[in-house]
Amino acid sequence: MKVLLVDDEEQMVSTLAERLSLRGFEVSWAITGLDALAKVEIDTFNVAVLDMKMPLMSGLELKNKLQAKCPAMKFIFLTGHGSKADFKSAALDIGKEYYLIKPLNIDVLVQKLREVIAI
């Protein structure tokens, strides 16, 4: 399974990528929406894990752009506690999605990754 991680916190996304790799996932990561869009031009991913709040392009904006390029891609959102309400409100427009709250539990993330792929 190929996973694209996007979070503006480089240490967060690089460490998470390493931990998922150790669990058998093929992982690529980006720290901006533009980086992520460049990655999908040259590679194919099953799932994108997106931070909700990022400079210049939010996780939801990025999701819409990624989905336009890769209709089969599935999404999981990461959020701090403060943006959970924002996510629920925005999610009404885009349909049911998965979201996880930081700090993450790696086992829960792995479980959600497997769930979204099974859909």
């Binding site: 240490q11 460490t15 210049l56 701090g80 506690h81």
Partner: protein, 229 residues
């Protein structure tokens, strides 16, 4: 006067709330990174238990990352603490340079999310005035928000403190689209209420693409008395 007090209180609470949101988000991010790195150490030890040699350099590098994030979280909490202490006394003798550094630190996340680069230019000499630091932080915050909206393609704002007459002056520069602002749209009721409390003045200079916040050495006696009772 009542209207001014209500607007000042409301603006102050809004800044306080925004600061709490930003600080808690930043702290959560630092904690999330620490947790992932601690988790990675666990992962490495689990692998070592299966016979793979332990990479001590890797462990040291992860420990450094965790220490960096502890330092980051500590700095975030210090900033919040300084901000909260700005309410200790209604009137304080302050160095405007320090106040700008604090506002820049408090607004770091929100500035970054908007894609703007903020530079605080520090003068060598102190720029000291007696003022209400909490209200001044509010006013600087509002002016900064306005400035960030009119940077145009450059997306860069600089702020600097300088001595001006008996008081001080804060310059917000890089306001490339200042000329496109409709007349009367800035300052708004909020900025006007705060400038009244601080006996300050806001002016804009389209030619130099800057906003100037002129601050006297002292604040309205009546307001200081009313606020402290």
């Amino acid at each position: 006067m009542r209207l001014t007090h209500d607007t000042v209180s409301e603006t102050g609470l809004q800044l306080f709330a925004k600061t709490c949101i930003s600080i808690s988000h930043e702290t959560k991010n630092a904690l999330a990174i620490m947790k992932e790195n601690a988790g990675l150490v666990e992962d490495i030890y689990l692998i070592a238990d299966k016979g793979v040699p332990l990479d001590t350099k890797r462990i040291r590098s992860i420990a450094t990352r965790i220490m960096d994030q502890i330092g980051r979280a500590d700095s975030i909490i210090d900033t919040l603490n300084k901000f909260a202490h700005s309410m200790d006394e209604i009137k304080q003798r302050i160095d405007i340079r320090n106040l700008l550094a604090l506002v820049a630190s408090l607004s770091e996340r929100l500035v970054s999310l908007s894609g703007v680069t903020l530079t605080v230019k520090t003068d060598v000499k102190p720029v000291k005035i007696t003022t209400n630091p909490f209200v001044l932080q509010n006013l600087v915050w509002l002016c900064l928000n306005f400035a960030m909206d009119v940077t145009g393609e450059a997306k860069a704002v600089s702020i600097a403190a300088e001595t001006w007459g008996n008081g001080g002056r804060i310059r917000f520069t890089g306001l490339k689209e200042l000329s496109g602002i409709p007349a009367g749209s800035f300052p708004t009721k909020k900025e006007n209420a705060l400038t009244e409390v601080l006996c300050a003045e806001i002016t804009t200079d389209v030619e130099h693409e800057e906003l100037l916040l002129i601050l006297p050495d002292g604040i309205a006696k009546g307001f200081a008395k009313n606020r402290s009772t």
